[in-house]
């Protein structure tokens, strides 16, 4: 073997570069800690996609708000808006790898399982004081912040609830008034299901939507998905009948197109609604931003709470929304706390109110999530009086995944011509429960 001088040189270079890569790859990126008020530091913030449009819209909305924060505190914010398809994965990645952003948005139903990871700063003692105290938040919203009976590891940032959107023109043409009971809603939907128009639209291929409705309808039936000791009780009659009632919108009532079983993202139902292909759909209040983007004026539609059955519990939604958390490994916790205080302040909450369609999560902030007064009043009322909290247990993530996927499968069975009975629902929920218990 003979090597020229040049070959040897380049070989040495390759070796050196490789070693350097190994060395840098293994060291974790350390940041400098700054003063106790966090001034002069830079924090990374993962924001969820709330604008109803592409993530670039969120950047446009948030940039001036963050600039105001930097101006007043001297803390720079490195903003990353993350799409909903990636957000939970990215958070799970951050938790398991130990390296992630400083501050992040989480879906509030994830708060219990994320609290169980102990990867986030609990808001108690000094941390609670630094964000201006936790008592200023709407109590039901704050209750979603973590595990039952423990200090919250997230605080509410954006408040959302479900409602039933209906097309005003279609209702008046058919001589109907907005439904006040589940039975009314179904009979209205049947009357409105005529050539080319469906009474209702669902996002029946989305496991997150499906688990929300399994939860809401089970709650309406007086059911619970977990008992007081935190054990899953998915297969109670109330839950089974609730899920079946939801499935029957497509199966027996035939007011939902079987095509909806394939819908996986939340923008499809609003798009169909704006085109006049469906007379009603259920969605969270921020769907108004999507409807505006689809060219439907807010005067063309109205909202009412998702109605309950005769004799059912008056629940119309879960407490939906987005919370803010601080990653425990953040080196800039003083700055993080200041940032959370700012994002939940009346300044920031007012600024995001309309573009993100958020119901205020802190007391004393004027609601301004819609320019339509009735719309705003209806959702504010649902949020304050008709919304139930999701189970505050560590296996909540598995509950969503397993129950949601089970309902997906049942809808698929119906759409492809099969028949789903109460015992099928029970069997599917039993499998979901077995899978969920295995994660505990």
């Amino acid at each position: 073997m003979k090597f020229s001088r040049r070959t040897k040189l380049s070989a040495a270079l390759v070796a050196a570069v490789s070693l350097a890569l190994v060395a840098t790859g293994c060291s974790s990126g350390g940041g400098s800690t700054s003063g106790s008020n966090g001034s002069g530091s830079t924090i990374t913030y993962w924001a969820s996609n709330q604008s109803g449009g592409p993530t670039s819209d969120d950047v446009k909305i948030l940039t001036p708000i963050l600039a105001h924060f930097t101006k007043t505190t001297g803390i720079k914010v490195n903003l990353e808006v993350i799409s909903w398809n990636d957000l939970q994965n990215n958070i799970n990645n951050a938790v398991s790898s130990g390296s992630g952003p400083d501050v992040l948005n989480i879906g509030n139903t994830w708060a219990p399982y994320l609290a169980a990871t102990k990867a986030f700063v609990p808001f108690e003692g000094k941390a609670a004081t630094a964000i201006g105290g936790t008592s200023r938040f709407v109590p039901s919203a704050l209750a979603t912040g973590g595990l039952a009976g423990q200090a919250p590891t997230s605080v509410p940032y954006i408040g959302l609830t479900y409602g039933l959107f209906y097309n005003k023109a279609m209702f008046s043409a058919a001589g109907l008034t907005p439904p006040t009971s589940w039975e009314d809603m179904v009979s209205d939907a049947k009357k409105l299901t005529t050539g080319g128009v469906e009474g209702m639209g669902l996002v029946a291929g989305s496991y997150t939507e499906n688990v929300h409705f399994a939860f809401i309808l089970g709650e309406q039936n007086g059911g619970a998905w977990y008992d007081s000791s935190g054990k899953p009780t998915f297969t109670t009659d109330a839950n089974v009948q609730g899920v079946l009632r939801y499935l029957n919108l497509m199966q027996d009532d035939k007011v939902v197109s079987t095509a909806d079983a394939e819908h996986t993202d939340g923008s499809q139902a609003p798009a169909d609604f704006a085109k006049g292909k469906i007379a009603m759909f259920v969605s969270q209040n921020n769907a108004n931003t999507t409807l505006t983007a689809d060219g439907m004026d807010s005067s063309k539609y109205g909202v009412v709470p998702i109605p309950t059955t005769a004799g059912g519990k008056n629940i119309a939604s879960g407490i939906q929304g987005i919370n803010l958390s601080i990653f425990k490994n953040s080196k800039e916790q003083a700055a993080d706390l200041q940032f959370i205080k700012f994002m939940t302040s009346s300044y920031a909450q007012s600024a995001i109110g309309l573009p993100f369609g958020t119901i205020p999560v802190a007391k004393g902030i004027k609601p301004q999530f819609s320019t339509d007064k009735d719309f705003q009043a209806t959702f504010q009322k649902i949020y304050n009086t008709q919304a139930a909290p999701y189970p505050l247990v560590a296996s909540e993530g598995a509950f969503e995944q397993n129950v949601g996927t089970a309902v997906n499968g049942l809808f698929a069975t119906i759409a492809t011509g099969g028949k789903v009975t109460a015992s099928d629902v029970k069997a599917a929920l039993q499998t979901a429960q077995d899978k969920t218990e295995a994660t505990q």
């Binding site: 560590a394 949601g404 505990q440």
Partner: protein, 327 residues
Amino acid sequence: MAITTAPPTTSPRTSQRSDGPGEHQRHQTKRWLPYALIAPAVVFELLIHFTPMVTGVWISFLKLTSASIANWSSAPFAGIGNYQIAVSATNAQGAALLNSFAITCGFTLIVVALSWGLGMAAAVALQRTFRGRAIFRTIFLIPYAVPMYAGIIAWKFMFQQQNGVINQLLVSLHLVDPAHLPFWLIGSNAFGSVIIVSIWRTWPFAFLMLMAGLQTINEDLYEASALDGAKPFRQWRAITLPELGGVNRVLVLVLFLWTFNDYNDPAILFGAGQPPAGDLISFHIYNNSFSTLNFGFGAAMSTLLLIFLLIVSVAYLLFVNRRSTRA
């Protein structure tokens, strides 16, 4: 994988000995160089391939859930508990894994067979030179060149029940009733859909490998057999297939491993709500471990998958190597 090379006829030592003493001295001092050159590769190989594997096996014996994920060392030892759940057919998780395994076996068999068949047919068709051959070669390789995500998401749109081009095509051919359009992304048809997408993505690779293999076959063999009156099919069976033996042995194994491990096709085609008929094992493991932060169980399932693939690969290599030495 097992690569056998012919032993060198003379060892480096004996060849060195024939050199002068000065030359020998210089070789002695330079002996570190080859090792230094491969050292980074060895380090990276261990780092990139071995570390995750060992970590995965180690995790599979832990009860690593959301409660311990932020601090792995706090995860309690689970013994073979995770494996017991995975292999138990009476348990919901075990039954689901077994079902997913069966589906993946069927999927792999069909995809590998058809990808290989298509690749072979196309490679043989383009073996002789003719006008426009380069165009066909390029067209056939397009699926391989298209970014994976873009390719699969395009299929997802095509398979949509309401607006998808597949159903429109079937309607215009009067093969389906427009009032009862079939679903391709949910229900039992999902199995066929993911197979079609996977073949579409895989066969150009088989085509490329076989086309390269065909270049090495001596034209004289075909000419001689033609003189003996051999028809094209006979030529293919008696010349092409045996001559491609080496390529085929590796190709089928690689296709099998890729297809069995396929994560991208189901993940992009179906998204989080994976239909039972398209419940391929890699995505199944992901859905039942990562998304619920049940890593110990996920690692146990992955280890079982690794063991299965190892056994199949080794058995396959032993089988084909014995056959090729006998031949």
